[in-house]
């Protein structure tokens, strides 16, 4: 327990210290470094510790008596509400006050009256927790390290913003702590508290630069998340007053009684959808791109948005075949597809990443909503791979922006020659996101199989269409990086060492994960699924069991050893490419100009134009704005998904409350 509490509290402590170190100094960098390194090693230690000394098979439970802590949490909740109130008044955004109050006041009431605790323990550690702790701990800490270098450059480039980097770093750490709390809480009220902390932290981070756009976007993020918080609260109230339970694990016991659980599950799922920026709520995440890159990386890839899907994955045993499950699956699948199409139409690197995040979260959501073991397996795998790869992508885009002043994909032309190291990171990232044998694709593969098995035609279709679109935007990006024109030279990138410290391990991790994922699967994911689903043998799952393809064995069978070896070979071949490149390039051959209709002006960059002058050739990617443009597709998607969510929620509410 002490490790865990340290894991949660330590970041808060660092955050507290950093809050007062306003000036950039060696001391501050050192503290960040210590904090990050500490958190990282702690989480690894925690994982090993849990495996070796605790019973994570059935979950280890802590803290069943917590009156004092509850009071503390109530007080902190009140503080959060006040912060929101203060800023809402300051920027005249009053509606968020209502949302905030709607969520917080019942929580306060229950905390103070002690309703929110039964004898059940508040903290639970099982396989999923360990996985999440590792993800958040490793990726999150690396991001914090990266942030030190980044925020310095950021302020060097953006003199117009006031340097509040201490506050920024402190928020990042607070966030980390909150995430740790969230993933280890079993008690719903506690979870709610951490949930709200992440909402408010992200709100503050998005509004960091205080430009009107940033403020506007931050409030959008806030109200969406608070709306989710209200739904969360509704679920808690229902659990406490109707079902007389307080914990998620207790809720899971009712998995086989979908009529009982449909209301709380639907409400929690709704909250998760807002947090994971699923379709009608995807707007906040896109808007969050105004924030400095580390917060984008942290919010969008590694942590906050993962909180949503984490909750969904927890709930997934209760979603198979229920209305709530259908809602989640459809929204997830739809988001996966629609966001990939939207990602095609944008050229701002961070925006592409944001849409792709929304899209991938959609897939995880769909996997959770589908509720089949294999799907959940794929969902968890996706979550791991996505965190590592996407945070790396965000970091490299940020580093590129700080080196060149632009983060537009179109400006990454010929990066492989100009900034080879960054290009290398990005290439790994993009490969990781899009092609086999890298992780994401393998998980998609398992998901496809699960979707087919579950008989949901719509999910299968969404997945097929969505992954085809995914390839498009990733590869065109990669293509830009590889477009080399003769005579371009290597530029010096001014990426600080700390950023490399963050990026290299992630890059290596991304590669290594591809090789060791069977291990992760066997050690953590499959045991978790077997436990989680043991109590809830729904009709569909039984069917799957009978056909002999579900369960631990089935999941491994989805990707057989043979396939795994083949993929290993592919990975090695890809790794050998740079070597081959060196070798082939050593063979001299006649170099010719690239083809420009015979009117090349002597280098690969320009041709003679209609006025006989040299004109630079410029090659831009496709964005298909006419077909899938944000203006065209987005409103349509939002309306469609909102209508769907509203109707499904209504059905669930009526079904859960009155039947």
């Amino acid at each position: 327990m002490s490790v865990l509490s340290f894991l949660i509290l330590f970041p808060f402590f660092i955050a507290f210290v950093l809050f007062f170190l306003k000036k950039d100094s060696l001391v501050r960098s050192f503290i960040v470094f210590i904090g990050a390194a500490g958190e990282l090693s702690l989480s690894v230690y925690f994982a090993i510790d849990s495996y070796l000394y605790h019973d994570i098979e059935m979950g280890t439970f802590y803290l069943s008596e917590t009156h004092d802590l509850d009071m503390l949490i109530a007080a902190l909740e009140l503080c959060l509400m006040l912060v929101v109130f203060f800023l809402a008044v300051k920027y005249k955004k009053y509606p968020v006050m209502i949302l905030s109050a709607l969520g917080t006041i019942p929580a306060l009431y229950m905390d103070l009256t002690g309703k929110s605790t039964t004898m059940a323990s508040h903290i639970k550690v099982d396989h999923l927790t360990v996985i999440m702790v590792l993800v958040v701990g490793v990726v999150g800490s690396l991001i914090c390290m990266y942030a030190v270098g980044y925020i310095r450059d950021y302020h060097r480039h953006h003199k117009e913003f006031r340097d509040r980097s201490g506050y920024f770093l402190s928020l990042l750490f607070a966030f980390l702590g909150a995430m740790m709390g969230l993933i280890s809480s079993d008690n719903l009220t506690w979870m709610f508290f951490f949930w709200e902390v992440t909402s408010v932290c992200s709100f503050l981070l998005i509004g960091y630069s205080r430009t009107p756009e940033a403020v506007h976007n931050s409030f959008r993020a806030l109200w969406m998340n608070l709306l989710g918080g209200c739904a969360f609260m509704a679920a808690i109230i229902f659990c406490i007053y109707v079902m007389e339970i307080t914990n998620i694990s207790q809720l899971l016991v009712y998995a086989s009684l979908p009529t009982v659980t449909v209301f709380p599950v639907a409400m929690l799922a709704f909250a998760a959808l807002t947090k994971s920026a699923q379709m009608p709520f995807s707007g906040w995440l896109l808007g969050a791109m105004v924030a400095p890159t580390p917060s984008s990386a942290l919010l969008h890839s590694a942590t906050m948005v993962k909180a949503g899907v984490y909750l969904l994955l927890r709930l997934s045993p209760m979603m198979c075949g229920t209305y709530a499950g259908t809602m989640v699956a459809v929204i997830g699948g739809f988001t996966f597809f629609a966001a990939s199409l939207l990602a095609i139409t944008v050229s701002d690197g961070k925006k592409v990443l944001a849409y792709s995040t929304v899209s991938n979260l959609g897939l995880i959501t769909a996997a959770a909503g589908c509720g089949m073991e294999e799907a959940v397996w794929a969902g968890i795998m996706l979550l791991i791979f996505h965190s590592v790869t996407k945070s790396m992508m965000f970091m490299s885009v940020g580093a590129y922006e700080n080196s060149t002043g632009s983060r537009d994909v179109e400006d990454m032309h010929g990066m492989i020659v100009r900034y080879p190291r960054l290009a290398f990171i990005m290439t790994i990232g993009i490969f990781g996101m899009s092609v086999v044998p890298m992780g994401m694709c393998v998980a998609k593969w398992a998901a496809l199989r699960a979707f087919i098995d579950s008989g949901s035609v719509y999910l299968t279709l969404f997945l097929c269409f969505g992954s085809a679109s995914t390839i498009f935007y990733w590869i065109k990006w990669l293509g830009k990086i590889f477009s080399v024109s003769r005579g371009s030279e290597r530029h010096k990138d001014n990426v600080p060492a700390v950023e490399w410290i963050a990026m290299y391990p992630l890059a290596i991790l991304a590669m290594v994960l591809c090789l060791v994922y069977p291990l992760i699967s066997a050690l953590a994911v499959i045991p978790y699924i077997q436990n989680a689903f043991s109590g809830s043998v729904s009709r569909l799952v039984t069917a799957a069991f009978e056909s002999g393809s579900a369960g631990g064995e089935g999941i491994i069978a989805a990707i057989s050893t043979e396939d795994f070896i083949i993929m290993g070979v592919m990975l090695i071949c890809i790794c050998l490419l740079p070597v081959a490149m060196k070798m082939v390039n050593s063979v001299q051959e006649r170099q010719v100009l690239s083809y420009m209709s015979g009117f090349n002006s002597g280098n690969d960059r320009s041709f003679y134009d209609s006025h006989g002058e040299e004109k630079d050739q410029w090659l831009s990617n496709w964005y298909m704005n006419g077909l899938f443009g944000e203006k065209r597709l987005l409103p349509f998607c939002l309306v469609l998904s909102s209508a769907f969510v509203i109707s499904m929620m209504t059905v669930c509410a009526i079904g859960g409350l009155f039947i």
């Binding site: 100009l593 083809y595 015979g598 009117f599």
Partner: protein, 172 residues
């Protein structure tokens, strides 16, 4: 395996009157069907083995012709199609005509005609294919490398100065 079994052809219209061009095009159509000899009209210098140039060279297209020629991989042959491409034809007195194709790149086969007949073109191509095979043979033995257009220009300069000298001698 002879390279001449699959000659791919690139056609560029220098400053022809179109007469030769349509005949070149006609030779790819059913009546003459040069695909019988494996000829494909590629249009891309990087894939081509035979460069078929019609029309004379003028000051605006000389660079284009040079560039296309240089972009073609060895072994390659150049066919000058039509009288214009052979020596400037009826236009050779025009202020903007520098001369036939051989003023900028080396020509392997001259195909006369105004306009060149598809049959003559076929004859010319068949002749060119023999040369292509010879070049390929020599290339294999490492004895052959085609001149680049720049080298050719040098060579021409050399030739000219030599003949100029002769003329001067004569005058003297």
């Amino acid at each position: 395996m002879r390279i001449s079994k699959s000659p791919w052809l690139l056609h560029y219209d220098g400053s022809s009157c179109n007469g030769c061009d349509i005949e070149v095009l006609a030779s790819t159509t059913p009546r003459f069907d040069v695909e019988r000899f494996g000829i494909v009209n590629t249009g891309n210098p990087k894939h081509a083995d035979i460069f078929l140039c019609t029309g004379g060279i003028n000051s605006q297209n000389e660079d284009v012709v040079r560039q296309i020629y240089d972009q073609m991989p060895d072994p390659k042959v150049v066919l000058a199609c039509g009288i214009c491409a052979c020596d400037g034809g009826i236009f050779k007195d025009c202020y903007n005509i520098l001369g036939g194709t051989d003023t900028v790149i080396p020509v392997d086969v001259y195909v006369p005609g105004c306009a060149v007949r598809p049959e003559a073109l076929i004859d010319g191509v068949i002749k060119a294919l023999k040369i292509l095979d010879e070049k390929a043979e020599k290339m294999k033995r490492g004895e052959y490398k085609s001149l680049t257009s720049a080298e050719y220009a040098e060579k021409l300069k050399g030739m000219k100065t030599a003949s100029d000298k002769e003329k001067e001698d004569e005058n003297a």
